[in-house]
Amino acid sequence: MPHDLERYIREHRGQLDHSESLDLDAMWTYFEQRQRPVKRLNWWKWSIAASVILLIGAMWWIMSDSMHSKDSIHEQIAQIDTEMADHHASLVQLIGYQDSLINSFDLDKSQYPELFDELQRQDSLQTEAIKEMATYGEKKNLIRVLLKHYERKARILELILYEIDKNQKDEIYDATVQI
C-alpha cells in the first residue's frame, strides 16, 4: 500500500477513466437513435410550408379534378362517410406531393433500405385493403385501416425527405408538413 494514498491516486488519475470498458459503437448507435428528432419547424416556417402545400394542393386539385371523379375508391369512401373521404383526399394529395419531391432527387434507394421496405409493405397492405372494399362488411373499419396505411406511408415519405435533407442540406424538408 502506498504511504500517501491521496498522492498515489492523483498521480494515476488518468487510469481511472479507463477502468471500465464500454461498447462505444453500440452506445453511439443508441445515442443517435435517441437523438433522431422529428425536426421542429418555426411557426413562420410552418406557415410558409402550409401555404406552399395549400397552393400546390389547390393546383393539383384543379388539375386532377376529372381524375378524382374517376377515383372509385374516393367515391366509395364518400358514399360511406364524407369526412373520411376528405381525409383520404388530403392524404392522397400529400403523398402525391411527397412522392413528386422524392422523385425529383436522383435517389439511391439502397441508402435507405428499411424505409423503402416499409414503404413497399404499406403499399401492399393498402392494395389488399382496397381489394377487400367490395366484399368486407364493416366498411367504416376497413376505411379507417386504409387511412392508417396512407398516414403511415406519408410519415415514411416524410422520413425519407428528412434523410435527404440531412444528407443534402436541402431546404425542401422544411416545406413538408407533418400529419
Binding site: H3, L5, Q15, D17, H18, E20, W28, E32
Partner: protein
Amino acid sequence: MVSPEDQQLISASLKGDRVGQSRLYKKYAQAMFNTAIRMVSEREIAKDLTQDVFVKVFQDLGRFRQESTLGAWIKRITVNTCLNHLKKAGRMQFQEVEVEKLKMHDMADEESKTPDMKIVHKAIKGLPNGCRTVLNLYLLEGYQHKEIADILSIKESTSKTQYRRAKQLLQDQLKSQLYAT
C-alpha cells in the same frame, strides 16, 4: 486551450456532421462514463447519464467559450449531471462521523504494495453515497471543500470530515484486498 483536433471536431459537430459528432462522442464517452459510474456506482444508470451528458454537449456546444479544454468542459457537465441525479434520487445523504475515530493507519511500517487502479476504481464505487461524492469531487475532480460545501449545501467542515471518512474507508478496503492473499 482547445487542441486543433478538438477544434475540428467542434466545427464539424456544429455543422451537424454526424461523423464529426460520432468522433467527438467516441473520444470522450469512455472517460465520462467512468466518471459517472464512480459517482453513481451503478453501470446502467451511468450509461444513461453518459447519454444525457452528450445530449447537453451537442445542444450547448455553440456556447462553449473555449476557456478550458473540451474534455474539462464535458467533464464539468458530467459531474453536474451526476450530482443532479444523486440529488433527485435522494442519494446525497451524509452519515454522521465521529472525528476521533478518523485516525488513519500508520502506513510507515507496512510493506509498500501499490494497488491496481481498477481496484481503486472498484473500491471508490463501493463507498457510501455521501462520502463517495465528496471524495470524487475533492480528490478526482479538483474541487475545494468550500466549493463542495456550496454545491452539496453542507458545511465546509462536513465536507472535510466526509472526505477523511471516505479516505479511511477506501484505505481499509484497499488494504484488505492487497493483503488478503
